[in-house]
């Protein structure tokens, strides 16, 4: 097919561009683009690259702070953690590819996010993953989950980064559209951070890494009849990852970075060579000229169009200082990777592509980068819900506890994280299964606490509050291990933004995230937007996953959720009113997803979090755990399970089931050998003495007792039984 022929309005529609967008392209060029040029426009103006539906609302997020070195706009956020070290992190979705080919989709998601992090000069030290699957009874759930988990493990384990945390939930709204969000955290030196902005007219553009194949050339064109002359040559929609090559690419890039030969570097992620070259030249306010005939390809006969739009994995584009090409080639040669000059930086403000002696593209960069349409899409606020009354307790308290602990969302995710190498590196101080994961920096004693959180049920019921809660829960998870929350990354997973009620969810969640992040002093430094998560008109639950990183000055005093000594006093931090709306208890025991979710007050979160953090750091408490889904009793059970120790408590006054399982925010459970010292410090933070640790059962005064062993069987049993059942 001739990819240099003039494009038509019909081609534009097939590439997913709206009629007015096509008009806009023609107007900005003052001519009709050819097919290759149109392809470049279509990916640069895609939701993924241009953020055209979300940008207006993303602008409202707090993104700066005294520690922020690079906020959104780079490959990953960069935050100063002292002594010349910086933490580099980002979260990204690979939802659609994972639904089509769960193993490779998830694997390449992990590969992509790690490249984002090491492109900036950081060595990845931890991965996390936030997963949402359909209802367990849906026929595809099991195989999708098996494939996704194997893929995440397959890539991260081989590459050699510990996967230390994440979250996993199930709901029928994800039946046709699972969510696979991967987060990577790396460490760099503050004086050796690399960005994408080109400089130096005449500098060489080098192509690094794996060869280019026909992987994942964008979806819209797949359907195009012109591409299917030969049935066997059907373009694979799904990229295949090779962690082995990526590991070599990491080592080679870090080695090249250390030489000082690099001006700018950018990984080829979504939209491959197109977005990397356009962004590098565009950010530098320069131009770029490439000879596509020099690009290493895996197959013969690839067109310029295919080379530009390929999403083959494990590739990088780098701009070198003059005369340093041989040095780069020697390093990449040692690692047996391609390193080829494919073009130069120019002063034209244009991207010019040659292929086989023919100019296949000559476009101004300005409209590609700055004239993508920005939509102020109509939106309607989500109507508020009524408060859910507690009503009468339908069954014994401890029966409900067992059900919650063995419910799909409440059950242990051990089956998942045991498939992830969470120990490689020898720096995993808090393993998966508790609150935030804690990973030590190589030379210690510093460490990072990392978590991801989102409660989509809250977001559905009340987007603003749901957005706030996601940030607040991250804040609590970090505080519970004694870490100072530093900054956030977010992955905004929503349905079709062209529907006003969905757009309302986006606007609301972003408002909530922004408000809470501002109060809690945790700017958003990177993120990713994934829209159109729908199948046959059924949207996913609004799922703005928040990832957070906190700093521990000394990992030796990291907090733990494990209750492992008898005789400790158990205390509840925060107010309990027994709020059941949109709770796990309401879903699992009362059989309703209705009701308003619990209010979130970021000021309260700040005060309570600061209090708990100081207790952990001063070693006044032996264990701490934040209260989230399932409320007080579930949190206590998790502490008992983590430490293999029983406890006896009396519930505060109120309807027992609402007090035990209500999800009032801003709360923690702490265990201490020095209750008086804790009380002396509380300075107005509500503190309630609940009971003591000890024995091998969990006892609630007036409600009986259940052995820790029985709780463990319930908690650990569900997921393996589910996966193993035929």
């Amino acid at each position: 097919m001739d990819t240099t022929r003039p494009a038509t309005a019909r081609d534009a529609a097939e590439f997913g561009l709206k009629p007015d967008e096509w008009q806009r392209i023609v107007a900005s060029l003052d001519r009709v683009p050819n097919l290759t040029e149109l392809g470049i426009f279509s990916v640069m103006w895609s939701e993924h690259c241009s953020y055209k539906s979300s940008k207006k609302h993303l602008m409202g997020l707090p993104t700066s702070g005294p520690r922020v070195i690079h906020g959104p706009g780079e490959n990953a956020g960069v935050v100063d953690i002292g002594n010349g070290d910086a933490v580099v992190f980002k979260i990204e979705s690979h939802n659609h590819p994972s639904f089509i080919e769960p193993y490779q989709g998830a694997a390449t998601g992990v590969g992509g996010i790690m490249r984002d992090v090491f492109t900036m000069g950081a060595r990845p030290i931890a991965n996390l993953n936030a997963l949402r699957f359909g209802d367990p009874s849906h026929p595809r759930t099991k195989s999708l989950m098996a494939g996704v988990v194997a893929g995440i493990g397959g890539y991260g384990n081989s590459f050699g980064v510990p996967t230390v945390g994440g979250e996993t939930q199930f709901h029928r709204a994800y039946n046709g559209n699972i969510l696979v969000n991967a987060m990577c955290v790396g460490i760099a030196r503050t004086d050796r951070i690399f960005t994408a902005a080109a400089s130096g007219i005449g500098s060489t553009v080098m192509y690094l890494g794996a060869k280019t194949g026909r992987d994942g050339i964008h979806g819209a064109t797949m359907a195009s009849a012109e591409f299917t002359e030969d049935a066997d040559a059907k373009r694979p929609t799904v990229q295949v990852g090779d962690p082995f090559t990526e590991k070599l690419l990491l080592e080679a890039c870090l080695e090249l970075m250390a030489t000082g030969a690099i001006i700018a570097i950018q990984d080829m992620g979504a939209a491959g060579l197109t977005s990397s070259s356009v962004e590098m030249a565009g950010k530098g306010g320069l131009g770029i000229s490439l000879d596509l005939s020099s690009v290493p390809t895996r197959e013969a006969g690839m067109t310029g169009y295919e080379i530009m739009l390929s999403e083959s994995q494990e590739r990088m584009l780098v701009i070198l200082k003059p005369g340093r090409e041989a040095e780069a080639q020697a390093i990449f040669g040692k690692w047996e990777l391609d390193c080829v000059a494919i073009g130069t930086i120019t002063d034209t403000g244009r991207i010019v592509l040659h292929h086989g002696g023919v100019t296949v593209c000559d476009l101004p960069l300005e409209p590609l980068i700055h004239q993508a349409p920005l939509y102020d899409r109509p939106w309607v606020p989500t109507p508020p819900r009524a408060v859910l009354e507690a009503g009468v307790q339908p069954e014994p308290l401890l029966a409900s506890l067992t059900k919650l602990l063995s419910s799909p969302d409440g059950a242990s995710k051990r089956w998942i994280w045991e498939q992830y190498d969470h120990l490689i590196g020898g720096n995993t101080i808090r393993r998966p299964g508790g609150d935030a994961a804690v990973v030590r920096l190589d030379d210690g004693p510093k460490g990072l606490a990392i978590t991801t959180d989102c409660n989509p049920h809250y977001c559905l019921a009340d987007p603003v509050l749901g957005g706030m809660q996601a940030v607040a829960e991250c804040y609590r998870n970090l505080s519970a291990v004694g870490a100072e929350p530093l900054a956030l990354t977010d992955n905004l997973n929503f349905g079709n933004p062209e529907r006003p009620e969905i757009m309302g969810q986006i606007v609301g969640c972003l408002q909530g995230i922004g408000q809470a992040a501002l109060v809690l002093g945790t700017p958003i430094v990177s993120g990713n937007v994934s829209l159109y998560n729908e199948t046959s008109g059924q949207a996913i639950l609004p799922t703005p996953v928040v990832g957070a990183v906190g700093l521990l000055p000394d990992v030796a005093v990291a907090g733990t959720s494990a209750l492992s000594a008898p005789g400790l006093t158990l205390m509840l931090v925060g107010k309990t009113s027994g709020w059941l709306g949109a709770s796990a208890y309401a879903r699992t025991i009362l059989g309703t997803e209705d009701g308003a979710p619990p209010p979130v007050d970021p000021q309260v979160e700040l005060r309570h979090g600061t209090f708990v953090r100081s207790l952990v750091r001063d070693q006044l408490i032996a264990a701490a755990h934040d209260l989230a889904e399932g409320g007080l009793l579930v949190a206590l059970a998790e502490m008992c399970l983590a430490g293999g120790m029983g406890a006896s408590i009396a519930l505060p006054d109120g309807p027992a089931h609402a007090i035990a399982f209500g999800e009032d925010q801003g709360r923690y459970l702490i265990a201490t050998a020095a209750p008086d010292a804790v009380i002396a410090r509380c300075n107005g933070v509500p503190l309630v003495r609940l009971g003591t640790s000890g024995g091998d059962a969990l006892t609630v005064t007036g409600h009986g007792s259940t052995s820790v062993a029985a709780l463990r069987a319930a908690h650990d049993g569900w997921l393996p039984a589910f996966m193993d059942a035929g």
Binding site: E418, Q419, D421, V555
Partner: protein
């Protein structure tokens, strides 16, 4: 004591190994697989990872790389050789230890702490343990399912060459006889699937692996 850590493309636990060795008082040096001249060393370590992508068969491509000829020669001279995880797989493929490591019977990668029983202490690596002692050490592998024919197992047993066995209630990977590690006839080549190098630091959990490195350092 000089320890040479052999690094293949795809090796990824070399730094964990180096740290464990340094804690035990050794001076570790990394040796790139293309450097066929091994530096003089008292101990050669093949660390964990997925050398050459673990493609084709785990350990297979690495076992046939040039540096392995040097390792085999050094082992022949009595130099201590320790293979952990991928290192064990490579030693088996290279024929320095018997048997093969196949996919875990669960078909899943498994990373968790296991209970490891020390079955023999008359090796330079296990002298600081007692027979029957149990260790808390993590595993992290997808292909640790040790298999060998009856004659191989009989020979290992007769020579008291099974050094570690899994002693967990649930099987870790399906290994025949719960074999987790074995040694050569001269007892100076040890391979094991678990990661003692990730059990040397109280902050990360167990320190039960430290004695293995200490013993090796003393012996070398």
């Amino acid at each position: 004591m000089r320890a040479a850590i052999v690094v293949f493309p795809g090796t990824n636990r070399e730094r964990d190994a180096a740290r464990a060795l340094a804690r035990a008082g050794a001076t570790p040096v990394m040796v790139w697989h293309k450097d066929t001249d091994l530096p003089p060393a008292d101990l050669i370590v093949l660390p964990g990872g997925f050398a050459f992508g673990d493609y084709l068969r785990t350990g297979a491509i690495a076992a046939h790389s040039p540096v392995m000829r040097e390792v085999v020669a050094a082992a022949g001279r009595g130099v201590l050789v320790l293979g952990m995880c991928n290192g064990f797989q490579i030693l088996c493929e290279a024929g320095l230890l018997p048997g093969v490591l196949m996919r875990n019977t669960s078909l899943k990668f498994v990373c968790r702490s296991v209970t490891l029983e020390v079955a023999a202490t008359d090796t330079p690596f296990t002298r600081r343990y007692t027979v029957g002692q149990t260790l808390d050490v993590p595993v992290a592998h997808g292909e640790g399912n040790w298999q060998g024919d009856d004659a191989t197992v009989a020979a290992l047993e007769a020579g008291n060459r099974i050094i570690f066995r899994y002693a967990d209630a649930r099987t870790v990977n399906g290994s025949l006889g719960e074999i987790a590690g074995s040694c050569s006839v001269n007892r100076r080549v040890l391979g094991l699937m678990p990661h003692p190098e990730n059990a040397v630091d109280p902050l990360t959990g167990s320190t039960d692996g430290a004695a293995l490195f200490q013993a090796a350092v003393e012996a070398a």
